[in-house]
């Protein structure tokens, strides 16, 4: 009987058996004997000079063991380092783990309290008095009234420059040029489980163990070891279950040093669990960018060149992934389109807001909004159908691979790998019934304006440099698989076991997958940039191939023949003479292999989204009637989990476009620090969403052929919805250039457009 491959099957998740019974183990579920509890005192001032912090009364609270401010830390005060694309200019702009001389955002840690119970720790927080001399709070990207850092003469931390082709004369000689200014608001991942750390110091071994590591445990171990002045082997990070990451959670935060540091001082285990208000104040924020985008075209709509001047509001400090957003912004403005000449600068601007980091589709969501919105404006100017405009400019297959714009500083070379961009566009148009519905475009039906839009995108995945996997043939004939990838709720365990099962030709019951501790494999890189399936999967394939070779050798020895006279099939080694050996028979030989898969080329999932929506002119409310996403993920490992990623990503994109907004007042206070103010999508908001994955073009860059997926649903949502709202309200002259499109803002745009029309009419009269 031929074994049916598990890759490509909608295998029900292995993780679910625990999670559905409430048997997950999230960080707050960790209990240790003698556990103490931490609470963080945070700045209520956005920008100011610290005169003094009085913790004497807090120390007197019943049950309080320790209160630390920056003065009590090893000097110089440790700072949170950069994980991705570190640059020496960022070093003075990194965050001290406790504010030292200045505070730079509301929510910045000032002190840590350790007490017997969470309640007594919080009681003590009330008695900490910080005397802070207030400075002007900076909230936008063009404000230098006050400087965040003494060593800079503006609030610009770093500028990235991008270039592609030759720009000489392009704008001067083009038939048509247009420039437009856009803004994307600040929002972020908001995981359902808030952050948390449990740390325990083993004084005898001089070893620290931290639970609650998510996303990048190996990188965080390296960072913690260096900050605590320990060898990496003396730091263990244990993952447990993660209540969502989406990029924002799991990077190294100040608390990831403070909690283990206090555990070492007190020689007692310490737990810190972030509350929801702290989460909204102090987790990495995202988006928040201003862009002036210029385009030069021929009369027929063919793009000759684009220019972008982008300022992204990175908040108070550079943190581990802050550099990614400005870099992606500059590189992804072109999307899947042919743009012969391109020049851009992206400035990382500091402000008195929470430091920013990556969030699902970092920089790409923003870049796609700028580009797709501009394209619809250009198509209208040139009187070209918006679909036709995209067709004329989409890269054809014979133009791939296509290099991305160069980036400086910290250059990286990458290229769009493979894709049938126009084919997917056609599938999407057909699915949304584009032609049949064109008569509704801009029409007022029963008091609602109808609009349709389409957008194309590319999504990056499979960031390197490596991932490790170890396979071990256990004494009972089962195979254990250890990976350095980490699970953040995406179903990684099931996906990687499907890959392993096919490679080893074994049923899932014969396999066990282990991830989630920095002791399992030599090194690991974690879950970010849609990389785990590709990187972990390929590492498993390499390790399994070698294990099968070892198995053949061992079995051949038993059967007294040479390894090339035996074959491996479904967990049994068969010799040419018909004799066979099962895995159990060689299980005592301790066969194992650890492989490392390295890559330099990323994968680029691509696709198109279309939407049909209505706008209520009385309330400004946008209602989605049909949303369709079509994307080519190369090779689908598990259609069930991929579909889940697709739908989840779309709804996050729609939430970010229509509901979510991290609002700061002029004084730098955050005005949306509860879930009653920061609106997450609910079950009633977006019922009509469809996600279709196709397998048209595998990634040519690695054996598995899959492309990183899970962010594509989010990336085009902003531009797409804004274009559909513009189409719906065309007769009113509304052209949204800023997000979000919350009902109040859409309503205001309608009022403004009406006012502009009546003013124009009056001046004519």
């Amino acid at each position: 009987m031929v074994r049916t491959p598990l890759i490509g099957q909608p295998i029900e998740r292995i993780e679910d058996l625990r999670l559905l019974r409430g048997k997950g183990c999230y960080v707050d579920d960790i209990q240790r004997p003698g556990l103490l509890h931490a609470a963080i005192s945070r700045s209520s001032i956005a920008h100011g000079i610290i005169k003094s912090i009085d913790v004497s009364a807090a120390k007197e609270v019943d049950g309080v063991h320790l209160v630390l401010t920056a003065k009590d830390l090893p000097q110089p005060t440790p700072t949170v380092p950069i994980r991705l694309f570190p640059n020496e200019k960022m070093i003075p702009l990194c965050q001290p783990v406790l504010a030292e001389k200045k505070v730079r955002y509301v929510g910045e840690p000032l002190a840590i309290v350790i007490a017997e119970t969470p309640a007594s720790a919080e009681d003590a927080l009330e008695l900490i008095y910080a005397d802070i001399e207030q400075l002007e709070a900076i909230s936008t990207t063009d404000d230098n009234r006050a400087l965040l850092f003494d060593n800079l003469d503006t609030n610009c931390g770093l500028v990235y420059y991008f270039k592609k082709g030759d720009m000489t004369g392009i704008f001067e000689s083009a038939d048509y040029t247009r420039s437009e200014k856009f803004h994307v608001h600040r929002h972020t991942g908001v995981t359902m489980e808030t952050r948390g750390v449990v740390s325990e110091w083993d004084a005898e071994k001089g070893k620290i163990t931290s639970w609650g590591a998510v996303k990048v445990p190996f990188a965080n171990r390296r960072i913690l070891a260096s900050l605590m002045n320990l060898r990496e082997e003396s730091v263990e990070m244990i993952e447990g279950d993660a209540g969502g990451s989406f990029g924002v959670r799991g990077e190294f935060f100040p608390e990831d040093f403070l909690v283990p540091h206090c555990a070492r001082i007190l020689n007692r285990p310490v737990k810190w669990i972030e509350d929801r208000r702290e989460h909204l104040l102090a987790v990495s924020h995202a988006r928040d960018a201003d862009c002036v985008l210029e385009i030069a075209c021929r009369k027929d709509g063919r793009i000759l060149g684009m220019r972008a001047d982008i300022k992204t509001n990175v908040g108070a400090y550079f943190r581990p992934t802050t550099a990614i957003t400005p870099r992606n912004l500059g590189q992804f403005v072109l999307g899947p389109y042919r743009v012969p000449g391109y020049e851009a600068s992206v400035s990382a601007m500091h402000s008195n807001k929470s430091p920013s980091g990556t969030y699902r589709g970092p920089g790409r969501y923003e870049a796609d909004f700028f580009r797709e919105r501009l394209f619809d404006l250009v198509a209208k100017d040139l009187n070209i159908d918006r679909v036709e405009f995209r067709r004329r400019n989409l890269l054809r297959e014979d133009e791939l691979p296509c290099a991305f714009p160069s980036v400086e500083p910290n250059p990286v070379l990458t290229e769009l790998d493979s894709g049938a961009y126009e084919e997917v566009l056609d599938i999407c148009l057909k699915e949304v019934k584009w032609d049949e519905k064109q008569h509704l475009q801009g029409q007022l039906v029963d008091g609602l304006y109808h609009g349709l839009a389409i957008a194309c995108f590319v999504e990056g995945g499979a960031a390197g440099p490596r991932e490790n996997a170890k396979v071990v043939l256990e004494s009972d004939g089962t195979v254990s698989i250890y990976v350095g990838s980490s699970a953040v709720g995406q179903g990684l365990q099931t996906i990687l076991m499907q890959i392993a099962a096919d490679e080893l030709e074994l049923p899932l019951e014969k396999l066990r997958l282990f991830h989630g501790s920095t002791t399992y494999v030599k090194e690991g890189f974690g879950s970010f940039h849609s990389r785990s399936t590709v990187m972990g999967g390929n590492a498993i394939m390499l390790a399994a191939t070698e294990l099968k070779r070892q198995i053949l050798e061992a079995a051949a020895e038993i059967m007294q023949c040479s390894a090339n006279e035996v074959t491996y099939q479904d967990g049994i080694v068969i010799a040419e003479n018909g004799s066979s050996v099962a895995l159990e028979a060689i299980a005592d030989r301790k066969l194992s292999y650890e492989a490392s898969f390295a890559n330099t080329k990323h994968t680029y999932t691509y696709g198109s989204h279309a939407v049909h929506l209505t706008v209520d002119p009385e309330t400004g409310r946008v209602t989605i009637l049909d949303y369709i996403a079509v994307e080519d993920a190369g090779r689908i490992i598990n259609p069930l989990t991929l579909h889940g990623q697709g739908i989840g990503a779309i709804v996050q994109g729609l939430g970010g476009t229509l509901l979510e907004n991290l609002v700061y007042g002029e004084d730098g206070q955050m005005l949306s620090a509860s879930l009653a103010d920061y609106l997450l999508p609910l079950a009633t908001d977006f019922p009509n969403i469809r996600s279709i994955s196709v397998e048209l073009r595998r990634s040519p860059n690695h054996p598995l052929g899959a492309k990183g997926a899970g962010e594509g649903g989010t990336i085009p949502a902003g531009g797409l919805i804004a274009n559909a709202v513009a189409a719906a309200l065309e007769s009113l002259g509304v052209q949204p250039l800023q997000l979000p499109l919350t009902p109040d803002r859409v309503w205001l745009m309608i009022q403004d457009a009406e006012l502009a029309r009546s003013t124009a009419a009056a001046s004519v009269a």
Partner: protein, 156 residues
């Protein structure tokens, strides 16, 4: 100050001396070590901490432990067994109604209490009831499908 509280938790009488400010959610999780109930926001919006108190779904972050005196409290653990997934749990698995699993216990308790009372609800009604719980991963499609598909198991 401490107060004595006694209630029935998943079929067992439990009793503890607690501070009156202790929430039912923290009490279940930390005093009685039933960690299936998750605390997501502590201000009654996200629904992750939903437990069933005397038949009604309740936010255990908004109810004090001492208010549960004499009540019957059911958590996700009380709706589970080690041998098999219940029809509701299996339906969640089949329809991929969970990813990270953090909000899931709150959806299971909410859906169980709801399906017990209204096993014939329309999709619109299902969405309305579930809109009291936040899920950040799934976009709700699988959850709504799972709850609708579990209806037959709750019909008498």
């Amino acid at each position: 100050m401490v107060m004595q509280v006694t209630f029935n938790l998943n079929g067992k009488q439990v009793s503890a001396s607690v501070e009156p400010r202790l929430t039912l959610g923290d009490c279940i999780r930390h005093t009685f070590a039933q960690t299936g109930t998750h605390i997501g926001c502590e201000h009654g919006v996200c629904g992750a901490c939903t437990v069933i108190v005397d038949g009604d779904p309740v936010r255990s972050c908004l109810m004090l432990a001492v208010q549960a005196e004499g009540s019957e409290v059911t958590t996700v653990e009380g709706l589970s067994n080690d041998e098999y997934l219940t029809p509701l749990q299996q339906s969640f698995r089949t329809h991929h109604a969970l990813q990270c699993g953090f909000c899931t216990p709150g959806f299971i308790t909410t859906a169980h209490a709801f399906l017990t009372k209204e096993p014939d609800a329309t999709e619109e009604r299902v969405r309305e009831v579930l809109s009291g719980n936040v899920c950040r991963c799934t976009g709700y499609l699988g959850i709504v499908e799972a709850v609708l598909a579990a209806q037959p198991a709750y019909r008498k």
